[in-house]
Subunit: 289 residues, 2 copies
């Protein structure tokens, strides 16, 4: 069966979806996206993803946007039509078509949704943890693009290239002030003297939905939590560290280039938080049915 | 007559060109573009535009790219088919299709070319000069994207919004170190004590084709030229200033926000250089026939 996509109100086989050459995504990367995960047919923290999308739309001055309820309905129908239960879902919203550099705001925005089967990262990834490579690129504190999930995504792609060149699974981006910011597609946490620390929202990061869930979990188990900047050296001297995003959830971070983070093996709090995270997913899944 | 576009080897009416939803421009802004100007049916400095495109492809690791001769042929056939003589031409090159964040490099890149009638900016624009607004966003010295013309173009769009909000025609971007870099779609020059000064290529700028032509012209008339950084205050204290790009050529810059640049009116060197620029265009046009 050919995969079905959603585009502007229509469900169609992927090879019959046709985008005009005036889509501003093509011309200027003028749009936003979200990557979400469905467990047993339910999207985890759907409302939070849609809120983040709405914030991005405001930053980019894109309007109007389809109502959240319509987007939700479309995503669930897409999962149904593709007979998907555990899936990664990508939702891309483009500013209304137009060739000119300065947009005409009377054009309706376009919405593309795709979904594919997604299970879990491999057990050995979690057992071994990820290595990161500190890349040349830095997050620009002087651009609102650092805090929204726009399709201006080339820095991340180049960062991942550089990481792969250096035998690492993920890139480590500093921000323009030299503090640790995030990965190409992940937020970062470290544990230091029993306190869980992650860079704050204004440190040139995309505030992840998984990041927010981890902060919630840590507080709920009375773990001290700080949102504050730290240096790459502090990261190396931490007790343990991990990366988060919707697809990999909570991935141990064990090396920065050739140097171990803490003892260089996945840490006990990382494992415990991942266990709590899966319980949270399970709990919210039950509540939503 | 409906306008004809070129897409991957085919000339077709614009409404019948169809792009797949897996084009990486749509998904990640993963591509490059060039905006060129044709005078009397000849593209000015075509080779330089194609060289810049090739440099961008190398930075993004996009390959293979169609040979320069094929691109040239396609552009001229497109002008013919649209009966265009004085035109602006946009060429967009996308990395090979693929949904995954990390690209598969065995897919061929895609090339989209469009052209439209373009005369000149209005005489009163040149007579009055442009006002710029110094925007919040800064060019990221820690990203190679600052020096290539990628379709990650949102900073420029947001900068232009901010400029329009402030009654200016163009944005003025500083770089992350606080030096003057460029406009949203233009390079910047100032004249100080008879020396023509423009930010160097490594100052977080896109090295413009028009910028290079202006440097050439200034040297050919024995004008002292420096590529060096300067501050917004130095710009205000300059004798005159101007903006350059392929479409507006050389546009006087007369105000930064509410403050005049030099005497606040278009300067004599700006006018003389524009005259020389048009002569250069004419000369190269003659040679190319």
């Amino acid at each position: 069966m050919e995969r079905i996509l959603y585009y502007n109100g229509v469900f169609a086989p992927e090879n019959s979806v046709s985008i005009t050459p005036f889509n501003r995504g093509l011309l200027y990367g003028d749009g936003l996206f979200e990557t979400m995960r469905a467990y047993s047919g339910r999207v985890f923290r759907f409302a939070q993803h849609l809120n983040r999308l709405a914030e991005g739309l405001q930053v980019l001055r894109i309007e109007p946007c389809p109502p959240a309820a319509d987007i939700e309905r479309a995503v669930y129908e897409l999962l149904d039509r593709n007979k998907l239960s555990d899936a990664s879902i990508r939702l891309t919203l483009f500013r209304g078509d137009g060739e000119g550099f300065e947009p005409q705001n009377d054009r309706a925005s376009s919405l593309l949704i795709s979904a594919r089967q997604f299970g879990n990262y491999r057990a050995e990834d979690y057992a071994q943890g990820f290595r990161v490579h500190m890349v040349f690129m830095r997050r620009n504190l002087y651009s609102p693009l650092s805090r929204i999930k726009s399709i201006n995504y080339l820095d991340n792609i180049l960062g991942r290239f550089e990481a792969r060149d250096n035998n690492a699974q993920e890139a480590l981006f500093l921000n323009s002030n030299g503090w640790v910011a995030e990965g190409a597609t992940a937020n970062i946490f470290m544990l230091k003297n029993k306190t869980l620390i992650t860079p704050p929202a204004d440190a040139g990061i995309l505030p992840g939905i998984t990041r927010a869930a981890v902060l919630e979990i840590a507080r709920s188990i009375n773990r001290e939590v700080q949102e504050q900047t730290f240096s790459p050296e502090e990261l190396l001297r931490s007790d343990e560290a991990f990366l988060t995003n919707s697809l990999m959830e909570i991935m141990p971070l064990v090396m920065v280039d050739e140097r171990p983070v803490g003892s260089g093996i996945p840490g006990p709090l990382t494992r415990a938080l991942h266990q709590h995270y899966r319980e949270l997913v399970e709990k919210e899944l039950q509540q939503s049915i």
